[in-house]
Amino acid sequence: MAELLSGNHAIAEAVRLSKVDFVAAYPITPQTPIYEKIAEMISEGKMCGQMMRAESEHSAMAACISASLAGVRVFTASSSQGIAYMHEMLHFASGCRVPIVMACVNRVVSAPWAFGTDQTDTLSQRDTGWIQLYCEDGQEALDTVIMAYKVSETIFLPVMVIIDGFYTSHFIEPVEIPEQTLIDQYLPKRNLPNRFDLSNPAFLQNVVDPPNYTRFKKRQFDDTLKARRLLIEADKEFGELFGRSYGVVEPLELADAEIGIVTAGSMTSCARIAVRTLRSKGIKAGLLKIKLFRPFPYNEVARYLGTLEKVIVIDRNVSSGKGGIFCDELKASMYNLKNRPEIYGFIGGLCGEDLPPEKFEKITLSVLRAKKPWDVPKWIHRMRF
């Protein structure tokens, strides 16, 4: 059944359908409607589970880790400075191998103070050991939260399900809400280990020596890589049951393309229109939407982009003094390939700057004319359209 929902409320519906036992969160724009909707559903008896009003995001994540160690299904959500404030606990979560799912609603990290979307808040958490999935719209976010629990509780790693602030979080669109019975079939309650034994109390994270630490990290690293395969399978199974699947990346018109645009998140929708328009003008353009950022989808990137002449990466984020983060990751992942495209980096859409299809078209035309790629990214707001 389809309902008119914002991306935030679509995520709250996914949390309800996933029968989450425990939610600890702290409000922050643009994530707050997720938190409010879950509170409302619990108070109206539409959702079981307990909600904890934490005094900060740091405490919210600490509470989620503890609850997850006790073997219950856990959810939280945050944005911007809230995610930054959680940072040290994020490492703890992945290190404790707890299957937490967190919805992250991208918003600029202040200063300057602002509300629009910018993926730098989640990309700054790249090395915390969390799986990161960037979603294009509310429907994908709903579906991905459900898939995320399946994968997370299999491999015991926490997952961030990420949407753009406002463009996805506050856009209201028809969203298909799956049947609870089918969700129960897809995502049964697992017997997660309870690592607290009150009759035999013990310290949970003891000090380890270098060999043990390294063994632990190597195992975490390998399991994170394995998560890619699990995600592909979870997505396929979801598709068979519900008729929607997304892949860890999504190629569009890349088979015979000369030039490819790489996007993540909500900007992908306008880029799709741009590719259609460019094709109608006889330009062999294609698109690769990157959904999975950690573990990095090396194989897919090589397969879909390796044969192109030119690749454009549009980053709604910035690593000051270096470039767009997706662009840099893409360059690094392709360095050892025999054939690799020229990669052209652009930064745009920061703070929710509008990126209509015409901008993607004009960027593509400008890169087609370009003689060689540049190291320092071009900023879209400085370009003449």
Partner: protein, 194 residues
Amino acid sequence: MILDFLIDSYVQLGYSIQVIEIKFTGRGGNGVVVAAQMLAKAFFLSGFYPQCFSLFGGERRGAPVKSFLRVNSSKILLKCEIKKADHLIVMAADLLPEEPLTENLKNGGLVLINADRPFKVEGPFKVAYVDAQKIARECRLGNIINTAMLGAYARISEILSLNYLEKAVREYVPSKLDENLRALRRAYEEARTF
């Protein structure tokens, strides 16, 4: 009812319509955001695919607020601002000098203005007006003029029946349901083209 039937069958037969872009301007406190959401719901109930969003400056009373609505027969990929709309609903006419029609409305587009007298505007537009302020006050709704604006919109746009709007209003207004429905119907009767 005939209109409902026509629109329903139009969508159900799978005909695609061109995306209609609708823009609301007004001030915080007018009900601009909920106006777009109610209209989205009404289109949704009648079988269309709506996409609705708002732009806030600061969330405070009196501040200029814009809301947007796209309507299509299938999924909408455009995820960007609406610059020049097909239909513009001006809930606070004193914002018009700052937000000129030529920058917010396509040539040949339709503008509905909340005004107490026929409103003369320059440019190749279809113009309609309704005294939503008066209707809202007389229906004891104060400055919340969104249901009145929507009633007038249903009349002049001729693409949506009042029936679906009434259903949406029932779902969205938190209080004073009868007053809101009265404002909706009265504005439907009193909307005038110019």
